[in-house]
């Protein structure tokens, strides 16, 4: 798997392996993420996504393989100075106030107190928690906690931020806000490593994705692969007589329902020829759209039946020490 991201890579790992006893969670995984990318990390439950992120952050030690994070070897605490992280299902101690929680994590980044206060206030406001900083976390809703977790992950103005299902507890408005936040991060040049099951969200926000299954990288490339564009969806008011003959040599009809046709092009780039022939034959052409493969199709194809098999299993099982 070769990366087409510009060097130097923010994340660069090769042949990453993690074994827990006899079970192999990650099995020779390769990954390269360039600076400033919004990167989607996808895979069915149990594919090894969480374990991979843990290894990248130095929380778990690879059984084999290795690489670098922000130019430093995996596990180097200094790299984490420029990293933000929001894991899924994290517990927020209820006795903290929102501001106290951010102050604590700011101090762990080694930020001076006044700086932390300024940034915490900013972050609370940015994430719609202005005025709630003094409340205890036990009074926060699920969505508020997730926003606070995001604020925590951005407190150090990281170069790279790992977000694990950051919108799972949010309503549609909250999701949109997070999407806007990701766009903002992208424009600031922050690299985002997004772990999500919401493929539609990933499609909207990510530049590139990796799809992993059984602990290996199955796909690493653009979020919307263009290799499906030799098909066209055509909508006509009235189909001309002898349609097959009209299109002979440029396209074949693969399905037809009234005036809606799905065509397979004989060669890439033949869409204008199709349009001309249809119009010349007297058809009233309403629309002509290249069929793009959805990320979901690619995901299901690459992860196959495994997705359904493992979906019912415990999510991303990890073997405790």
């Amino acid at each position: 798997m070769v990366s087409d991201a510009p060097a130097p890579n923010v994340i660069d790992v090769h042949g990453l392996v993690k074994r827990y006893g006899r079970r192999t969670a990650v099995d020779g995984l390769d990954l390269a993420v360039g600076a400033g990318e919004v990167f989607g990390f996808l895979g069915p439950n149990g594919a090894g996504k969480t374990t991979t992120v843990r290894m990248l952050l130095g929380l778990a030690r690879p059984s084999a393989g290795g690489g670098s994070l922000l130019g430093r070897p995996l596990g180097d605490p200094e790299a984490r100075r420029q990293v933000g992280y929001l894991p899924e299902n994290v517990h927020f101690p209820g006795w903290f106030t929102g501001l106290g929680f951010l102050r604590y994590h700011g101090a762990l980044y080694g930020l001076p107190g006044r700086e932390v206060d300024a940034r915490a206030g900013e972050a609370l406001e940015r994430l719609g928690l202005a005025g709630r900083g003094g409340d205890h976390l036990r009074g926060y809703s699920h969505g508020m906690l997730q926003r606070l977790g995001l604020a925590q992950a951005l407190l150090n103005r990281p170069k790279l931020v790992f977000l694990d299902e950051p919108t799972s507890a949010l309503d549609p408005r909250g999701r949109r806000e997070v999407r806007e936040l990701l766009d903002e991060l992208r424009s600031q040049g922050t690299t985002v490593f997004l772990n999500s099951h919401l493929l539609s969200e990933v499609e909207r926000t990510c530049d590139r994705v990796a799809i992993v299954a059984d602990g290996r990288t199955r796909y690493l490339g653009p979020t919307r692969p263009d290799d499906g564009s030799n098909e066209l969806d055509v909508s006509l008011d009235r189909a001309p007589d002898g349609l097959e003959r009209v299109l002979a040599g440029v396209a074949t009809v693969t399905s037809r329902r009234g005036g809606r046709l799905r065509l397979r092009l004989a060669a890439a780039g033949a869409a204008p020829d199709v349009a001309r022939r249809l119009i010349d034959a007297g058809a009233r052409l309403q629309s002509l759209t290249p069929v793009r493969r959805e990320l979901e199709d690619l995901f299901l194809e690459l992860t196959g039946a495994r997705a359904e098999e493992t979906a019912s299993e415990a999510s991303d099982a990890r073997v405790p020490a």
């Binding site: 778990a60 984490r80 894991p87 299902n89 006795w95 101090a107 762990l108």
Partner: protein, 282 residues
């Protein structure tokens, strides 16, 4: 700095989670019960002394000192379990709810987490043991009118015993789950106690094997032996002479070698906790 931040958070957590409040309530209940008992005892003693025309005032003082000694035994017991319960979730519990992963994704080293937790839970436990001891001794002075001869060395030795349990608890919490660590620590406490009982039984019956077995156990978990060392200083020579070898209180002055051993033991426990945590996959 990071160590102090983490220690500070554990202290604030102890305070905010009402752990301190629960402890104060239990401790106040215990102190009230103890002091009421001491008051009843004292009244009875005075009545008797008057009845037998105070033939020997020494007997009365002895009984008062024994009451204080028993009270301090309970103080040590409460503080021991406080140390275990304050520390058992320090690492394991926070790993289980993923909040420690959030901390360790920062530029924080694992030894800093262990040092911070050790400082936090150690401070809470030692502070509790010291304050409860002082409260009991002050109350006893008011109600019974006696103060044990060696208060300072006694409290220091009790604190050292509490630190032994604190260190061992942090080690257990770094190695395994909260529940497993808790069970292991209660068993360690029981082992230390059994060791003490064996030692005194061996000494009492002149069975060397028992005494040796007991002494070996105190090397394994020195907390109870440290209570016995501390209790030595809470007794007058007359009390020690009367008691002889017994399972609850020490009648021999602690030897320096053992005290040094115990201090090193605490350090080693914290270092081992650090090493165990360093190797653990999170």
């Amino acid at each position: 700095m990071t160590v102090l931040t983490i220690a500070g958070a554990s202290l604030r957590e102890a305070w905010n989670r009402r752990l301190v409040l629960a402890l104060i309530l239990v401790s106040v209940a215990f102190l009230a019960l103890y002091l009421y008992g001491a008051h009843l005892l004292n009244t009875r003693l005075v009545e008797r002394a008057q009845a037998i025309a105070a033939r020997s005032g020494g007997g009365i003082t002895l009984a008062r000192h024994q009451m204080v000694l028993l009270g301090m035994y309970v103080v040590d017991f409460l503080a021991s379990f406080m140390a275990i319960f304050a520390g058992v979730g320090a690492i394991a519990g926070e790993l289980e709810d993923h909040s420690l992963q959030l901390v360790l994704a920062k530029p924080v080293r694992r030894w800093q987490v262990i040092a911070g937790k050790a400082l936090g839970s150690g401070t809470v436990s030692v502070l509790y043991a010291t304050l409860l001891s002082l409260a009991l001794l002050a109350g006893s002075r008011v109600v019974l009118g006696v103060t044990p001869p060696g208060v300072v060395p006694a409290i220091l030795l009790i604190d050292l015993g509490i630190l032994v349990l604190s260190g061992l608890t942090l080690l257990a919490s770094s190695l395994t789950h909260t529940l497993t660590a808790g069970v292991a620590m209660v068993m360690a406490y029981a082992l230390a106690w059994t060791g003490s009982v064996l030692t005194s039984l061996g000494e009492l019956t002149n069975i060397d094997v028992l005494a040796t077995l007991g002494r070996d156990t105190r090397l394994l978990v020195p907390s109870d032996a440290l209570w016995k060392a501390g209790s030595y200083y809470l007794q007058t020579p007359a009390m020690r002479a009367q008691e002889g070898p017994n399972p609850l209180f020490g009648v021999n002055a602690p030897d320096a070698a053992f005290l040094i051993y115990a201090a090193v033991y605490v350090l080693v426990a914290f270092v081992l906790a650090g090493l165990a945590f360093q190797r653990r996959d999170l």
